[in-house]
Every structure is written in C-alpha cells, then in structure tokens.
C-alpha cells in the first residue's frame, strides 16, 4: 500500500489551513507549499491508480466505523481517474498562477492559494466519498471556496458574479439537503452503497422526487441549463486560472456526483434519457450563446458549459461506450479548456473589458501563448489529429450505437457553431491588426510551462490516444458495474 485515499482530503485541507501560518514564517512558502502538496498527491494518485487498475478498488474507512455506519472513501478506477485528473489540473493551475501577477501581493496570494487548496479538497472529496451527506459537505466546501475565488479581484464586477454563484449555490444546497433527507427518511442510511442496494424498496414517487432534487441541485454546480445562470459570470470575472479550475475541477466533480447518483445509487432508467434531454438543451443554448459573445472569457465559459452538456449527453446513452466517451470528453475538456482559459487570460491580460476584439494581432507579441490558444481551439472543436477529435468520435460512435441519430445530428450541427466562434477568435489573433491601446503582457515562465504541458498533452493524446484510453476503459467499466461497487463497499468489515 503506497498511501490511502484519505490523504487526498486530509493533506490539502491541512495545507489550506497551514498556509496562513506558514506565510508568517516565510512569505514564499505560501506559494511553494500548495505545489509541493499537489505534487505529492499527484505521485500518490498515479501510484494508487496503477494499483487500483490492477487489484480493484480501495475502500477507506474513516474513524473505524465500517460501512454503512461510518463514512468511507472509495478510490476505484472511476473515481481514481477523476481524482488524478483533478490533481493534475490543480498542479497545472498552481504552476500557472505561481507568479500569475507580480503586483499581487502576499495577502491576496495567501487567500488565493488557501481557497484553491480548499477547492481541490472539496472537489476531490466529492469524488472520493461514499456517503451522500459527506458529499453535501464537500460540495459546500467547494462552493464556498468557489465564491471566494470568483470574487478574488476587487476591481471588477467579480462580487456580482460571486453573489449570483452564491445565491444559486444556496438554493442548490437547500435542494440537495432536501433530497438527502427524503432518501434518508425512506432508507435510514446515508451510505451510497447501502442506499444503492436497498433503493428498489423505496416508494417510486419518493425515489423520483429525490432524484429530481438531486439532479437539480447538482445541476446548478454542473452548469446544466437552465440552472447555470451563474456560470458565465463566474468564469468571466474569476481570474483565468480559476476559470480553468472551475472548468477542469469543480464541474467535473459535480458531474461525477450526478453520474454517481444516476448510475449507481438510483435505479431509474428514465434518468438516462432525461440526461440526454438536459444535456442537449445545455449544449445548444450554451453554444448559441457563445457565438454572440464579445468577451473572450465569457465565450470560453459558454463553450465550457456546452461541452459539459455534451458530457451529460454521452453519459445519458447509458452504455459503457457512452460512459467511455463521456470520460474521455471530460479528460479532454479538462485539458483543452484549461489551456484555453490559461492562454486566453494572457491574451486579454491588460485589457479592461476583456473584449474579443482586444486579442487582435496578439501573435506578434505573445507567439507561444497565441499558438497554444489556437492549438486549444483546434483541439476543442474536434479537429484531428488533436485530442478533442478522439473524444468527439467516441461520443458520436456511442450515439450511433445507441441509435440516437437525432442527437447525433444535433451534436454535429452545434459543432459547426462551435467551430465558427473559435475560428473567429483565432483569426483575430493571427490576422488582425493590433489595437492602439492594447498592452500585451508576456506570460511568466511558470505560466508558459503550465500551458506548454497542456499543449503537449493535447498533441500526445491526439497522435496516440492509446496512452490514456486503457485507463478510461477500465474507469468506465468500473462505473457500469454497480453490484461490484456495492459489494466492495459493504464487504468491508472492521
């Protein structure tokens, strides 16, 4: 045993609280410690994932109370894959924002890294936990740190965005708690595995109501239309790396939660087609909204929402193929959209309004950043031979295999729209004349490194997707196997 899943929650949480104290010792520690923590977790998660892929999931029992009484953490192929992805993105975001703004002083940096660690704690916790109330707590942790990070810049309209996020977040937590209580009142347990094993005894009406409340609550975090009013504002006003973290970490965790409920806990088959419906709605509305944006990050935000809609659609096929496609898409989306957010925020670094027109002619001043943005844009619209193509292909294959031709056609039509707005921006970067009063800012070395890592990953996955598909196949098989999950958790006796 190389480590236990509980470290994923404990260490970053500890680090988060230690950051202010460490800052008193040496100010630079505030920036260094999160990185060290994340690096350690990265190594740990890769080791654990390797272990899990070979010898089955690790179920960690907290405080010695065996399931179903205590809280347990489950590090399976599925959750392990997501955790690894999140930690990796956390690492990239850390690397990027290590010296994001020189003028950001010690105090803001302290807050920033504290909140970032909290955010990662929460998101990782959501994925790992095997207890629905515990998940609620982690969602709230993620949420509160998310509100804080959104409101990070005092000069902008970030407080407004944050408030919207908070307001919807509060409603989400209310709905979530309500849903949890309905389930609890019916079954008297909060353990996911146990609920899953007993769910068939529940009165269908309660079951459905509870599921609807779960989906609505988690849908707010997962940016499902029409519950995603907060998302574009938050993405646009939060700092660039936070946008990347939202797209890559928070949303992934929320989608994980929805999927866990629908695939493992509940046994309602209608939920799959419901996923497709809301996924399609989200996809279409978000992409059509994105094409008319005049602010870069807002455009990326809508695009991100749309992509998550597509992920839900892929999950909604309910087949293992669909799950594979969705996970692959989540991976690619995490990498590519993060790259876009990271490079995009340098493209509009010094501009006040963050308008798309202000990226005109940036390639002369920021050649590598521009190139990486273009690479990301090409990849996200699914052009081969970049990473996005393979996931798009698997989504479409899954759709065709489930005989959802209408969905297939709609997804493709929307892809064309997506293409248009990304290409417009890339064209501006490369072929338009730079505006008079735009003052480009060279990216720092760390930021460049972070972006190049992501860009390289895009190319690697694009040219040789087999590096990652094996893991994803196992992860999707793991998710589909509901009984195994129940057995794995409930067989733990202490």
């Amino acid at each position: 045993m190389v480590g236990t899943p509980v470290l994923f929650v404990a260490i970053p949480l500890l680090a988060a609280f230690l950051i202010p104290l460490l800052g008193m010792i040496w100010k630079e520690l505030v920036r260094i410690v999160p990185g060290l923590v994340l690096m350690y977790l990265m190594v740990l998660s890769i080791n654990l994932l390797n272990h899990v892929l070979v010898s089955g999931p690790i179920v960690e029992v907290i405080a010695g109370w065996a399931p179903p009484f205590g809280i347990n953490l489950v590090f399976s192929a599925f959750s392990g894959f997501l955790v690894t992805l999140m930690i990796f993105l956390g690492l990239v975001v850390w690397l990027y924002s290590y010296r994001f703004k020189r003028n950001v002083g010690f105090e803001p940096a302290k807050k920033y890294f504290l909140l970032l660690m909290m955010l990662i704690t929460g998101a990782v916790g959501i994925v790992l936990t095997g207890d629905i109330f515990n998940m609620f707590v982690f969602i709230e942790i993620t949420g509160i740190s998310g509100y804080g990070l959104t409101a990070f810049y005092t000069g902008r309209d970030s407080a407004e965005a944050s408030f919207k996020y908070l307001m919807l977040g509060s409603i989400a937590s209310t709905l979530l708690l309500l849903a949890i209580m309905i389930l609890y009142s019916q079954l008297g347990t909060l353990n996911m595995a146990e609920i899953a094993s007993k769910i068939h005894t529940v009165n269908p009406t309660y079951k459905v109501i509870s599921l609807i409340l779960f989906i609505s609550a988690l849908g707010i975090e997962a940016e499902i239309f029409p519950l995603n009013g907060w998302a574009p504002d938050a993405y646009a006003e939060a700092p660039g790396p936070v946008g990347a973290a939202f797209a890559g970490i928070v949303v992934k965790a929320s989608v994980y939660a929805i999927i866990r409920y629908i695939f493992t806990i509940f046994d309602i088959s209608g939920a799959y087609s419901f996923l497709i419906i809301i996924g399609m709605m989200t996809l279409i509305i978000a992409e059509t909204a994105a094409i008319r944006q005049d602010k870069l990050k807002r455009m990326l935000a809508y695009s991100s929402i749309g992509q998550m809609g597509l992920v839900l659609v892929a999950f909604g096929f309910g087949t293992e193929e669909g799950v594979f496609a969705a996970l692959f898409l989540m991976l690619n989306h995490a990498i590519i959209k993060s790259l876009l957010f990271l490079s995009g925020s340098y493209l509009v670094y010094n501009s006040k309004d963050k308008k798309i027109v202000e990226v005109n002619g940036m390639h002369k001043f920021l050649p590598i950043t521009s190139f990486l943005f273009a690479l990301g844009a090409f990849a996200i619209v699914g052009l081969p031979p970049f990473a996005g193509f393979w996931s798009k292909l698997s989504v479409l294959t899954a759709a065709a295999d489930s005989h959802m031709l209408f969905v297939l056609a709609l997804v493709l039509i929307v892809s064309v729209i997506e293409l248009v707005y990304y290409l417009r921006v890339v064209n501006r970067i490369y072929f338009f004349k730079k505006g008079e009063n735009v003052d480009p800012k060279k990216p720092t070395f760390n930021a460049l490194l972070a972006m190049i890592v992501l860009g390289a990953l895009i190319l690697v996955i694009g040219f040789y997707p087999d590096v990652i598909t094996g893991v994803i196949h196992k992860a999707s098989a793991d998710l589909m196997d509901k009984t195994k999950y129940i057995n794995d958790v409930l067989s733990i006796k202490q």
Binding site: I285, Q293, I413, R424, N427
Partner: protein, 615 residues
C-alpha cells in the same frame, strides 16, 4: 509495409522541421521543403506496391492503409501536381513573409491528400480529410484578407460536409462495428432501405462540398482566390479532386447497388451540369483573374461531377480524365496568375495589359492550358470533353448535354478574357519594367503544358491507369473498346483518331504560317500597339486604347436575369437570421440573480410536474 510509415513520418517531420528551419536559414528551409515533398513522392512511386496494406490500430480502432489502382491514380494527381507546385512555390515564396507557415501547411496538405487516398478505413480517411481541411483553411487565410468572411465560410462548409460524413461513418460503424471501407461495402447490401439512401447522401454531401458542387460551392471563389497562388494550383488542382475521389467511390461501390441509385446519379449529374453553367457565367463576370479561375474551377468540377455521376464506363473515363486534365491546366493557370501577381503585384484585368512580350513563357503556358481548358483540339482537354459529351448522349441525357455544351461554349468568353486581359491588348508604359518570372516558376508550368499537349494526342497514357483503377472498382476493361493509345471511341462505335488530326493541324498551321510570313518576316518590322489604325486615324501616343472594363458586357446583358439570383446571398441571409436568433436566445441570461434563481425553481417545478412522463 514500412514505406507508409516512412512516407508519413517524412511528411510530418519535414513539415515541422521546415517551419523551424526558417528561423535559421532561408535556403535551408527551401531545400528542406522540397525534400519533404519530393522524397516521399519518390518513395511512394518506387516503394509502394499494389495490394500491400499496412494494418495498425489506434484507440482500439483497427485501421488499414494500402492502395489499389484507383487510389494510385489520385495519388499520381496529388503527388505529381504537389511536386511541381512545390518547385513553383520555392520561386513564388521568395521574399514573402510567413514562409514557414506556408511550407508547413503545404506539406501537410500534400500529406493529408495522400493519406486520404491510401486510407482503406473510414477513420484515417476522416482524419486526413480534416487535416486537409484545416491545412487548406490556414492557407486560405494566409493573406489575412477578408478572413472572417471567406475563411470562415470555407471552414463552415467544409465542416458541414465533414460532419455529414462523420455521421455517415458512425452510423455505418454502428451496423458493421468496424471502420473498414471494405466492410462498409459488404454490409451495405444488408442495410435497411432508409439507411441505404441516407448513408450515400451523407457521404456525398462531404464530397460535394470539397468538389464545390452547387449549391455547396459558395466557399470556393473566395477561398481559391484568397489562398496564395502557389497553393491554389494544388488546392484547385488536387484538393478538390478528393471530393471526386470520394464521390466515385461512393457512387460505384454503394449507390450502384441500390435500385433507387439512378436518382442519385441523375440529381448529381444535373447538379454538376448546373454547377458548370453557373460557374461559367460567374467566371465571365469577374474582373480579377483569381476569381475568374476560381469560378472556372467550380465550373470544371461540374463537368467532372457530371461525368462520374453518369456512371457509364465512358462517363467515368471522361470524368476521371477531365480530373487529371483539370489538375494540369488549372494548376498551370493558377501558377501563371501567381507568376503575374509576383511580377506585377496585381491580378486585375483592368490594370494589367500586354504582358505577352514581357512574360512569353508564362503566356505560352497559359495559352496551352486555356486551349486545354476550353476543350479545343489538339490538346488534352478536348479528349475529356469529347468523352463527356459522347457519354451523355449515349446514355440518354439529352438536355443535360445541351446545358454542358452551353457552359462549355460560354467558357470561351472567359478563356479569351483571361488571355486578352493579361497578355494581349495595349502594352502600357506602366508595365514596361516587368520581367519573366524566375525559372523555378516557369519550368513547372512549361512541363505541365507539355503533358497537356502529349495527352491531347496520346490520351492512352493516362487512360490506362484510369482504366486500371476503374477495373479495380468493378468496371470491365474498356481498352480497345472505348480507348486506345491515341483513339477514342464512343459506345456506338464512332471514334476520333487523334494522331492524323494532330499532324494535319500542324501541317496546315505551318503551311499557312509560312505563307503569311514568307519573304515577309525579316522585311516586316515590329511596331508598338500604339501604331494602329482606328478607323483610318492614327492614335496619339497618350490616347488610352486599353479595352478591359466591361469586357464581356454584351453577353452579360443577355444573361442578366439568370445572374440576378445568387445562392451566396441566401446563405448570408440565413446565417444572419441564425445569428439574430442566437442573439435573441442568449438574452435568457438576463444578468439578474433572481431570474436565475427563478429558473431553478421553475425547472424543479416543471420536472416534478412531468416526472411521470420523464422518468
């Protein structure tokens, strides 16, 4: 086996190396560029044998590369034109900016086109198709001119096509569970009728876009004229042929097995004919050589589509022969325009005149290609046109043949306009300094002209590989029956014997040429184009005698009612309407937190109300 890997590795590596070599040394970059196009070309033609295939797998998908005679034909077009255009590009790109960018995309385009023809499975086909699309897109926006309109239009149309194809691919996969083209063909017979109809349509949309068929052609004029000319010769000459390649494949292997397939063929053939006619009319209207040639490309592809859509052996031969010829003459013409653009800085007929004495080799190449384009004997274009007409007539397409003939006759107008506009007419002082283009640019053009000339009399040289390719697709051998080395037949046994015709033409021409200049040429003196009689008056030196504005006005007046309607406008209106709708839709996000909260509540309530329906 390994040859494929080496070829594609050289292409890819060469593209990247060439890009970065520009930072070191310009000449090194040129050499690397040539190397990374010519070396794979050599390897392909020397090292790749028919029937050998390279299977491998990616992301759990089995892929297969290999060639048959049919794809070899298109590889010949791609690599042959690609190599010549690469040589040309060295001269063309001299002293231009973004050289690395150009070379990079050029190599990738050639690679992707070769990839398309060697792909024996749908996924690598699609991958290369998309690489081809975006590399050509990057070329279209190379000049940075009008990119948000022209470039995006090109990409959107390509994407619509590509995604239609992708939809077809995944539907096929959902039935066969493999991506091999062979398996698709096998399984096609067992599909439901609905699928049998839809799958070819989906594929044909993709190919029709690339082949610039009406009504999906609107991207073509802008894209062809915006790309740098060294690339457009490849773009129009080879890249658009990929559409033809796929179209033939689909028509022969799938549609022909469907009883209703005849309707596909008829519709396609008519669309091809309309494309040819409309493309020609618009080409006549253009005052810019690039635009003229772009529309002309559209029109020429219309002929090709008609030919292959007819689907008889003669029609196939005609279509594919025209495809080869089109690669030659349109490649040359775009190169000539590129040469003129490089030497004068403009491509507008209303600005340039009288270059014949300054750029004689370019003129010669243009003349040859124009003769070939117009389909006049004794050059190669005639053979293709002849076979096309004969195939149309013998397969009962009477009205279509009239339409094609109209297009082809009207084509003379722009042919003449091209030659007159650039090379003939008054020799203005403004262009006195113009010199012939450098040798790297002239030699490829002349070489291609020679090919055109040879093919005009000995079409068998290229009809043989075409015939081999068609036999691979399941047609019977048509040697001695529809063609010989220098004889072409139609299905009724009528024929044209090309050799005596060529010799007669040369003999008559030389006889009368000598008659005219006998004892005269030395005695006559050359006079400038100012020294002419206009109704008996001798014009003054400063009098403007250049005639180039409103050149084809009389004809355009006659066809004005047809030209009033432009498909492009409808597309633009549609796009505007859509954007308006999107603008309206995004107002859902009102910016008010309470509204968003209300959405949540309403969502929950609605879902709860309809829970029995939904779950």
């Amino acid at each position: 086996m390994e040859t494929y890997s080496i070829i594609f590795a050289i292409f890819l590596g060469g593209a990247v190396l060439t890009y970065f070599a520009g930072k070191l040394n310009s000449i090194l970059q040129d050499i690397l560029f040539l190397g990374s196009v010519l070396v794979p070309t050599y390897l392909f033609f020397s090292g790749v044998s028919f029937g050998s295939a390279m299977p491998f797998s990616l992301e759990g998908i089995s892929l297969l590369w290999g060639i048959d005679h049919y794809s070899w034909l298109f590889a010949l077009i791609v690599l042959g034109l690609g190599s010549l255009a690469a040589v040309y590009a060295i001269g063309y790109m001299k002293g231009k900016e973004r050289k690395g960018y150009f070379y990079f995309n050029f190599i990738l385009s050639v690679m992707s086109m070769l990839g398309i023809v060697v792909s024996q499975d749908l996924i690598s086909f699609f991958i290369f198709w998309e690489i081809m699309t975006w590399s050509s897109y990057l070329m279209v926006i190379y000049n940075g001119k009008d990119i948000q309109r022209v470039g995006i239009k090109y990409f959107v149309f390509s994407a619509i096509g590509a995604y239609a194809m992708l939809m077809g691919i995944v539907i096929v996969h959902s039935i066969t569970h493999t991506f091999f083209i062979e398996d698709m063909i096998q399984a096609y017979g067992h599909m439901s009728l609905q699928l049998q109809i839809w799958i070819p349509i989906l594929f044909l949309i993709a190919f029709a876009v690339k082949a610039a068929m009406m009504p999906l052609h609107v991207w073509a004029p802008g894209a062809y004229s915006n790309a740098p000319m060294a690339y457009t010769s490849l773009f129009s000459g080879a890249l658009s042929k990929m559409g033809v390649y796929g179209m033939v494949l689909i028509l022969v292997t799938l549609v022909s097995r469907l009883p209703q397939g005849i309707w596909f063929r008829e519709v396609l053939a008519w669309l091809g004919g309309i494309t040819a006619a409309v493309g020609t009319l618009w080409a006549i209207k253009q005052d810019d050589a690039k635009k003229l040639l772009a529309y002309s490309s559209v029109a020429q592809l219309g002929y090709i589509i008609t030919g292959v859509a007819i689907g008889t052996e003669l029609g196939m031969l005609a279509g594919l022969f025209l495809a080869v010829m089109h690669a030659l003459f349109k490649g040359t013409l775009f190169m000539a325009v590129g040469a003129i653009e490089k030497q004068t800085g403009t491509t507008n007929f209303t600005e340039i005149t009288g270059l014949i004495r300054k750029m004689p080799w370019t003129f010669l190449a243009s003349l040859m290609s124009i003769i070939a384009l117009a389909g006049i004997p004794p050059l190669g274009g005639f053979v293709g046109k002849w076979m096309l007409y004969e195939s149309l007539i013998t397969s009962d397409h009477y009205l279509l043949v009239i339409l094609i003939f109209f297009a082809s006759t009207a084509g003379f107008l722009y042919c003449y306009k091209f030659l007159f506009g650039f090379f003939l007419g008054q020799e203005e002082k403004e262009w006195e300094h113009v010199k012939e283009a450098p040798a790297t640019m002239v030699v490829p053009m002349i070489l291609m002209s020679v090919f055109m000339f040879v093919l005009g009399t000995f079409p068998g040289i290229i009809l043989k590989p075409i015939n081999n390719g068609l036999m691979d697709l399941g047609f019977v051998d048509s040697y001695k029956h529809l063609w010989e080395t220098s004889v072409i037949f139609n299905n009724w046994g009528d024929h044209v014997i090309l050799q005596p015709i060529l010799y007669s033409i040369i003999a008559i021409f030389l006889f009368f040429l000598i008659l005219v200049v006998w004892k005269g040429y030395k005695g006559t003196r050359y006079v400038t184009t100012k020294d002419i009689s206009t109704s008996g008056e001798v014009p003054k030196e400063d009098e403007n005698l250049t005639f180039s504005v409103g050149f084809t006005q009389p004809f355009l007046r006659a066809v004005a009612p047809v030209m009033r309607r432009q498909i492009d406008k409808y597309y633009t209106e549609f796009a505007k309407g859509l954007e308006g709708l999107f603008e309206f839709m995004r107002r859902i996000y009102t910016g008010n937190a309470q509204t968003y909260a209300l959405y949540v509540v309403v969502f929950v309530v609605i879902v709860l109300l309809f829970k029995d329906v939904l779950f």
